[in-house]
């Protein structure tokens, strides 16, 4: 029996390759993403263990607002310089060195733009050469305007010793410094992970990076010989008390790399999402392939049954085929995925200028790849296997004319599954707490399966309708009729196309609705003509310098200028964003605010206002109090004095400017909303503001229209990325179309021969097969578009109450592109089968002797 299975498997090489390819593609994404994140994870581990390899113990102030796990350093608390002496007296301490090293030193390159680094822009104090750092040219900084830079920055921005360099420091406006030295890290590294580093004298670093004198942000501690790092840490902890964070080098490196690994998780989700879609489409393809194999083997199977093979043996033989295909597909998928993962990782590390940790063989990737690949293949083969077992021995004696079974059962089943799917989806979207995501996901999945089951029924009228487009020619008519000949097979083939198109149309619908909604709300709620802000590229927001703001306010072309700043605080023990305005009445005008309760025209220290929606959510009323711990450490009790209407631009807690100046990490304005005087053209006003900002490379001015455009742009980018998904999904479903058509051509050999014998030209044969292919692909696409748009519209409508947008905008451009794409893909998929049909030997096709 096994021999027979293997023989029949080998006899169908092409089909074998196609279905194996489906498994390969699905598994590829899973293993690729796992290998990629594993490699990057270990790369970051190496970086951090390098950074902290010479650190015994590090002391810093404990922050209330910073999230230690995410390494969010926007709130940096200084420790007084006197702590260094205090720590040196602690038992086991050999030496304590205070230093400044924080992000937010933005170096302006020779082109006038900020030197971009994805890994951070650090500024700190020069603490002398040690095991980790050494000067490779020049000398240490000694004057306030002298700096040492890392060799990575020197190479990237082409700075040499003696060059003047402009820097916007964390706590200082743009200023010119002079490079006096260039340094490298141990092991001749130009940087740790591609970051840029500027080191000032200690006093300058304290001033420009922390904004205070006689403070550090970290104190490095070296232990005496014989004292372990853990002992040292415990001693210091006991001596300093709970207001300090004391960590060993190992702990620091672990914490930092865990934070990165947390981010890499999202990477993983993204690629696993691709993998899931690929798998879904793959299931259809594998199911289709096995159904085809079984129906082709009907006579062979019947013969086996007639010779005494049991049903179970038949099922087993099909499942063994599936096992083999699954295993081989998983193996190749895993290998290709590993290659892709490695390529992705090396692209990432070279882009980030990091040393790759090298390719690993994560056990999780191997196990997941093979489990998924084999399981999915075998599960998909179960139904065809059962069908195979039902073949009656008598079928061996008959000409394998498969009669069309009625579609009643499958249609009822499809109806029920679709109903359950839609029900689950609407339940999930109506809000079901923790189960929401599961219900929505399950609902989408069930709806897709249900529609796929309904597809044979729908295929009859729809395929006829679609095909009538091609009916002007005889081959077109024949092709169209052929595509509705076997509704089940057409439906399952089109089903694979449908799944991909539906998911992508759904996502595109949601994104384009969001994009429209955002554009509309900006239009509606924002009175400002100009918005001044910068694209944030690091954890330090681009800042409008106070004197720049002053100059803008003095511009004669402008009527109102309101600045906004925000920061992360701990609000009643939870992390939250709070806003502050320098000129409350101006903001009220520009954002079209009006009081709903209390007063909103001014906010004094110890007071706050909030918008209506937030107030409702948090059950605040005028007079409510909240506990806010600011980034700089002080905790205040604030009282609600007024509630405003909710807008799309500035919802949340607004504190007084006084409190913000005292407590925010960056009290400087981050955004400015500008209204031009009547009669002044927006472009003139813009030019005037640009004149003021010409020395600030981070901040720019946008008109309201440009703002709408740029806030929509991110969705457009997301939409484009989603289209990549389409290519993958379509790529796999094309395999299914090829598969089905090849079978059709083989099954209809005699028919094709007859048609050729009565005068059908090769070209006409070609177009007949191609049109069948195009009609099947189009059917799947149209079904997918309808289902996807429906699911997307349902999601958008359901989210109306949550996010505040409700108008459904269908991505017409993309939808039309999908249809055009489907025609092309269909024609391409028909290529191999068409060539086969054209090459058919007429004589062989009709001869029976």
């Amino acid at each position: 029996m096994l021999r027979a299975t293997l023989k029949s498997l080998l006899a169908r090489k092409l089909r074998l390759i196609l279905s194996t390819l489906a498994v390969v593609l699905s598994v590829m994404f899973v293993s690729g993403s796992l290998v990629l994140t594993d490699t990057l994870g270990r790369t970051f581990d190496n970086v951090f263990s390098n950074i902290y390899s010479y650190t015994d113990v590090q002391v810093s102030a404990k922050s209330e607002t910073a999230d230690a796990a995410s390494g969010n350093s926007s709130a940096i608390l200084p420790v007084p310089a006197s702590d260094v002496a205090r720590i040196e007296k602690i038992d086991g301490v050999r030496k304590a060195t205070g230093s400044v090293f924080v992000s937010g030193a933005r170096v302006i390159g020779k082109n006038g733009k900020v030197v971009i680094s994805q890994s951070g822009q650090f500024g700190g104090s020069w603490t002398g050469e040690d095991e980790l750092t050494k000067l490779i040219s020049g000398r240490a900084p000694s004057a306030p305007d002298e700096i040492v830079i890392n060799n990575g920055l020197a190479k990237q921005a082409k700075f040499a010793v003696g060059d003047p360099v402009d820097i916007i420091a964390r706590a200082e406006a743009r200023k010119t410094y002079k490079v006096v030295g260039i340094m490298q890290y141990a092991g001749n590294r130009d940087s740790m992970a591609g970051e840029t580093t500027v080191l000032f004298t200690e006093a300058t670093a304290q001033q420009v990076m922390l904004g205070e004198t006689d403070v550090f942000n970290v104190i490095d501690v070296k232990g005496k010989d014989g004292v372990t790092d853990n002992q040292l840490r415990d001693n210091i902890k006991a001596a300093l008390g709970p207001k300090y964070t004391v960590q060993t080098g190992d702990e620091l490196s672990k914490a930092s790399s865990e934070a990165i690994r947390g981010l890499l998780k999202y990477f993983n989700y993204f690629f696993l999402g691709f993998g899931t879609i690929a798998l879904l489409v793959g299931v259809f393809l594998i199911l289709n392939t096995f159904s085809i194999i079984v129906s082709q083997r009907t006579q062979e199977l019947a013969l086996l049954r007639a010779m005494g093979a049991s049903r179970w043996q038949i099922i087993r033989s099909v499942l063994i085929e599936a096992l083999l295909i699954g295993t081989v597909g998983s193996l190749f998928g895993f290998l290709v995925g590993m290659g892709l993962g490695a390529a992705g990782a090396s692209a990432f590390t070279s882009l980030a200028k990091m040393d790759s940790a090298g390719l690993g063989l994560p056990v999780a990737a191997i196990v997941t790849s093979f489990t998924i690949g084999i399981l999915v293949t075998m599960i998909s083969a179960v139904l065809p296997a059962i069908k195979a077992a039902r073949v009656a021995p008598i079928a061996a004696m008959r000409d394998a004319a498969t009669t069309d079974k009625p579609l009643t059962g499958i249609t009822i089943g499809g109806g029920v599954v679709t109903a359950v799917g839609v029900g689950s989806l609407s339940w999930g979207l109506a809000g079901a707490g923790d189960a929401t995501l599961l219900l929505v996901f399950g609902g989408v999945l069930l709806t897709l399966i249900g529609v796929a089951l309904l597809a044979p029924l729908i295929s009859r009228p729809l395929v006829a309708g679609l095909g009538s487009v091609f009916s002007w020619s005889v081959p077109g008519k024949l092709g169209r009729r052929n595509s509705s000949r076997n509704p089940r097979r057409t439906a399952i083939t089109a089903g694979a196309v449908m799944v991909g198109i539906a998911i992508i149309t759904m996502i595109s619908t949601i994104f384009s609705s969001l994009s429209t909604a955002i554009g509309e709300s900006v239009e509606k709620d924002l009175q400002a003509d100009l918005i001044v802000y910068g694209q944030q590229t690091s954890d330090v927001p681009p800042i409008i310098q106070p004197d720049e703001l002053k100059q803008i306010k003095a511009l004669p072309q402008l009527q109102t200028v309101a600045s906004v700043t925000y920061d992360v605080v701990s609000l009643n023990g939870k992390q939250d964003f709070v806003l502050a305005y320098d000129d409350v009445p101006a903001v009220i005008t520009v954002l079209k605010l009006h009081p709903v309760a209390g007063r909103i025209d001014h906010i004094d220290s110890g007071e706050f206002t909030v918008d209506e929606k937030t107030a409702k959510e948090r059950k605040y009323t005028v007079g409510s109090t909240i506990q806010v711990t600011f980034a700089k450490g002080q905790t205040k009790t604030l009282t609600l004095v007024g509630i405003t209407n909710s807008t799309s631009n500035g919802n949340g807690v607004v504190v007084s400017n006084t409190d913000a100046q005292a407590g925010f990490t960056f009290p400087q304005p981050i955004q400015a909303l500008v209204k031009a005087k009547d009669g002044v053209a927006v472009d003139d006003a813009k030019a005037a503001v640009e004149g003021v900002l010409k020395n600030n490379p981070e901040v720019s001015v946008q008109t309201k229209k440009e703002l709408v455009g740029s806030s929509q742009q991110q969705f457009d980018v997301a939409l484009v990325i989603v289209q990549v998904l389409l290519f993958i999904a379509l790529g796999i479903s094309v395999l299914g179309v090829i598969n089905t058509l090849l079978l059709s051509v083989i099954e209809r050999t005699r028919e094709l021969g007859m048609l050729r014998a009565i005068g059908l030209r090769r070209r006409q044969t070609w177009s007949m097969v191609t049109i069948e292919s195009v009609v099947i692909t189009l059917f799947g696409t149209v079904l997918g578009l309808v289902v996807g748009a429906g699911l997307g519209a349902a999601t958008v409508t359901a989210l109306k109450s949550v996010i505040g947008f409700g108008a459904v905008t269908l991505p017409w451009g993309y939808m039309i592109a999908y249809i055009i794409g489907a025609v092309i893909v269909g024609a391409v998929a028909g290529l191999i089968p068409a060539i086969r049909a054209v090459r058919l030997n007429v004589l062989n096709a009709i001869a029976y002797e």
Binding site: L478, R481, E751, G753, L755, A757, G759, I846, E849
Partner: protein, 251 residues
């Protein structure tokens, strides 16, 4: 058509010293060994012979379905040996009709659409009067809207005959047209073929191994081992059977 009835000596198709050789060297098989034959216009010719005698090969070569190894084949006045696929397709569109043992109708088309298929493939308009004549002759008037699966075997083969006739080819090649039919349906189809020769002057070449079927023909050509070994004019079933028995003994 009446003109062709009058000039009975005209040739509809002919083979001149046709050889068909399969394989090379030791494994060489001579399916046809220098066959020359002329098939007269307006005649119903049957080709007979035991299995492996080369009768189907001869027909395939005459119809331009198979290339000959040596020799020449003509349909009417035109030589078809060496024609390209395009030329052969044109030939099939205008000069040749086929009837197969397996009927070979398209299941997706109705009887009428099947009959008109050769014309629609080549983009020609049917001659309504001729179409009606053909339909009356095959007796399918009330079955035109049916699909092949709704027709009996005999009806399906009659549709196939109508399909071959409707484009008025110079020659119709029929390959065991009654092989898949019971004797009554077979007789219907055969008399219909004979009638179309008699009434319309149609030329038909039929391969068969059934002496009874051959008795409907005007002339029977006997093949054995790739050679024409005998022929009969205005045969009866018994005469054909008799010749076949002698052939069997000879082989």
């Amino acid at each position: 058509m009446t003109a062709s009835v009058a000039t009975r000596t005209e040739v509809a198709a002919k083979a001149v010293d046709v050889w068909k050789i399969y394989g090379t060297g030791e494994a060489q098989v001579h399916a046809l060994g220098g066959v020359s034959v002329e098939l007269e216009k307006g005649h119903f010719t049957a080709i007979m012979g035991p299995s492996g005698s080369g009768k189907s090969t001869l027909m395939h070569c005459l119809a331009g379905l198979d290339a000959v190894s040596r020799g020449e084949v003509y349909i009417g006045d035109s030589k078809i040996t060496g024609l390209s696929d395009r030329g052969l397709t044109n030939l099939r569109r205008t000069k040749v009709g086929f009837i197969f043992q397996q009927f070979n109708l398209l299941p997706t088309l109705t009887a009428e659409e099947n009959i008109l298929l050769p014309l629609s493939i080549s983009g020609r308009k049917p001659d309504q009067a001729w179409f009606d004549t053909v339909i009356e002759t095959v007796g399918l008037r009330d079955r035109l809207k049916h699909r092949p699966s709704q027709l009996s075997g005999g009806q399906q083969q009659r549709v196939a005959c109508a399909r071959a006739l409707v484009s008025r080819p110079e020659v119709i090649f029929a390959d065991e047209p009654t092989g898949n039919l019971d004797s009554r349906s077979g007789a219907e189809v055969l008399s219909f073929l004979r009638n179309s020769v008699r009434d319309f002057g149609q030329t038909i070449v039929m391969v068969t191994h059934d002496p009874n079927a051959a008795s409907y023909a005007d002339r029977v050509i006997f093949l054995a081992d790739g050679h024409i070994v005998d022929e009969l004019h205005a045969p009866t079933a018994d005469a054909v059977l008799d010749r076949l028995k002698r052939l069997d003994k000879a082989v």
